[in-house]
Symmetry: C2
Subunit: 351 residues, 2 copies
């Protein structure tokens, strides 16, 4: 019973045709007469034949496989992007080869080499935390690739949104409501390209609107509930003179809201909160939470479509940044309004 898997030759023998005919029957049925086609299919079913992709790849020089390098899979919006990427690729027959390196590994060229050995037809890079060598390797092997999330990087085409306009939406919103002094709880700029540009975008926009973004209220931490909770506690304890806080992502927002709740500080009466919405769940955290909805799934979809086009020999024109949307949920609760400051500028509720 230890027989190997059925091959094209086995099918051909059983069907009484040549191997070439079987191959054609499976790939271009139109070329084959109805009678033999039926015989071949019968043999295929009977033997449970499944094509050997390695042999096919060797002969055709394509694997119908796309590689993805995804740093920091866990607490990010990358799974959503990957889902969209994979689903869209699958429609066109492509399979996704996933590499989810934990932090320092994402800089190892070995990852790209593995992908190249596997013969991926294209590569998707998420978050652009790769070594420069990655790009030269891909270029040297003429593998089309796309950068997801980050619009600024050079070297290849990229699909993403503009952090500056996203930040502008939130900051403008808060400024228009009358806030003059705000805080920001964001990811670690030192360790994370995305956190860095978001950080910068908030700072620049605050400056543009003349908002006070005091150093004391500018916190960097890991993305996470606990981190958001602790960061907000820090702000509260320090009595940071702010009337609104922007959270860098959903996790931070959730933690921050929880900390405010625990401290008895009412949102939005005593403190306004806004958040970048990576995971599309910040929206449901609090009825008065303003969020910027980032086009996460759309990035995955469009990146897939870009690669598919490239692999079809087209040269898609560069698309602009994907649209970012501000969600103000005034309908599900009181809209953020001019905060009531205490005499000394402290936030109400800090004791």
């Amino acid at each position: 019973m230890k027989q190997r898997q059925a091959s094209l030759a086995d099918v051909a023998r059983l069907a009484g045709v040549s191997a070439g005919t079987v191959s054609r029957t499976l790939s271009r049925p139109a070329m084959i007469s109805g009678a033999t086609r039926a015989r071949v299919h019968a043999a295929v079913d009977r033997l449970g034949y499944v094509a050997n992709g390695s042999a096919r790849a060797l002969a055709t020089r394509r694997t119908l496989t796309v590689g993805a390098i995804v740093p920091r899979f866990g607490s990010s919006s990358f799974p959503t992007m990957i889902q969209a990427l994979e689903t869209t690729l699958a429609v066109s027959g492509y399979t996704l080869l996933l590499s989810a390196p934990e932090y320092p590994r994402s800089l190892e060229p070995a990852i790209v080499r593995t992908l190249l050995e596997r013969g991926v037809d294209a590569v998707a890079l998420l978050g652009a935390e790769q070594a420069p060598q990655t790009f030269s390797l891909l270029a040297a092997h003429r593998i089309p690739f796309v950068l997801m999330w980050d619009l600024d990087s050079s070297g290849g085409d990229s699909i993403g949104f503009d952090e500056r306009s996203a930040a502008a939406l939130v900051v403008d919103h808060l400024a228009d409501l009358g806030h003059r002094s705000i805080g920001f709880i964001g990811g670690r700029a030192a360790a994370n390209q995305r956190a860095r540009s978001r950080f910068r975008a908030v700072v620049e926009n605050a400056a543009r609107r003349g908002l006070d973004l005091c150093e004391q209220a500018l916190l960097e931490t890991d993305y996470g509930f606990r981190e958001g909770f602790e960061a907000m506690q820090t702000l509260i304890r320090a009595r940071a003179p702010v009337t609104a806080v922007i959270a860098g992502n959903d996790y931070l927002a959730a933690g921050a809201l929880s900390a405010l709740d625990r401290a008895g500080i009412a949102v939005p009466r005593s403190m306004s909160i806004a958040s970048f919405n990576d995971n599309e769940f910040a929206a449901y955290l609090h009825p008065a939470l303003t969020t910027v909805r980032l086009p996460i799934a759309a990035i995955g979809e469009q990146a897939a479509q870009y690669l598919i086009a490239r692999l079809a020999g087209e040269r898609p024109s560069r698309t602009g940044p994907l649209e970012v949307e501000l969600i103000v949920r005034s309908s599900t609760g009181p809209a953020p309004r001019q905060p009531e400051l205490t005499a000394d500028g402290r936030v109400e509720g800090t004791k």
Copy 2:
């Protein structure tokens, strides 16, 4: 400049040796003399040679690739499992081929066929929402596979935890605190094997402890913040006579807590909340939230180790369910205590 990638033959020519020697130099350097080894490596570097995995797979009959089928990637704990799976596999040189079908597609046999064509050496199935045919196909092709999450399924080995003991931990905790009547907000049992067994586990344990789990307080919904929010609102409006509610996962817990907050119902004074902790973030939602920490990352790791062992020709013994842990955060807030009931048995705070 349109030359194809360098092949083993190219390297051999440049190094002045045979192709076989190059192959051996790369795979079993010990067999080769220092001098030729150096020459070969020089040629490899010079040409930027990368092995062709398809040809290697064809010759060796192994791809060093493991397939994973992952339904409902988005709002689940699967990304964490995948990260652990991939990381552990990578250490042993295996790459992950990811299939993340949206719902109905997970039942298509075409997915498994694609994986088989790609020549995966093994397959990991997450959440066991696959068609029965999946298992027979894998068996017919003698592909080792492992079921992740679900311990009960038959057909292959599985790595997971026991929903019943997880539920027992929470229910016992609430019962010991003196709660007599509780509610449960869980996932949709009809659409989701995992939600179903969790549901059942809670019901059975409640019965075992003589807790009242009235139908009115037994809600099924999609996993999500909004859904948890709305479910809890439903309970509040219906004035469900419960003093504690168990949330089926983190998202539901977050939404439920938000709804309680909005309704002015104090946790845990007027209502106790406990939650299954798929994503390890429920822990930070509320200082008095009791959670069952599910061994998500451990499942990914152990599944990888299981497959690696199988692929090495071993036959690992069945391991029992992974450990589940109850986290009571009394240190970060008041522990849930005997709730104060109103005269007519209503929960305090519902108006």
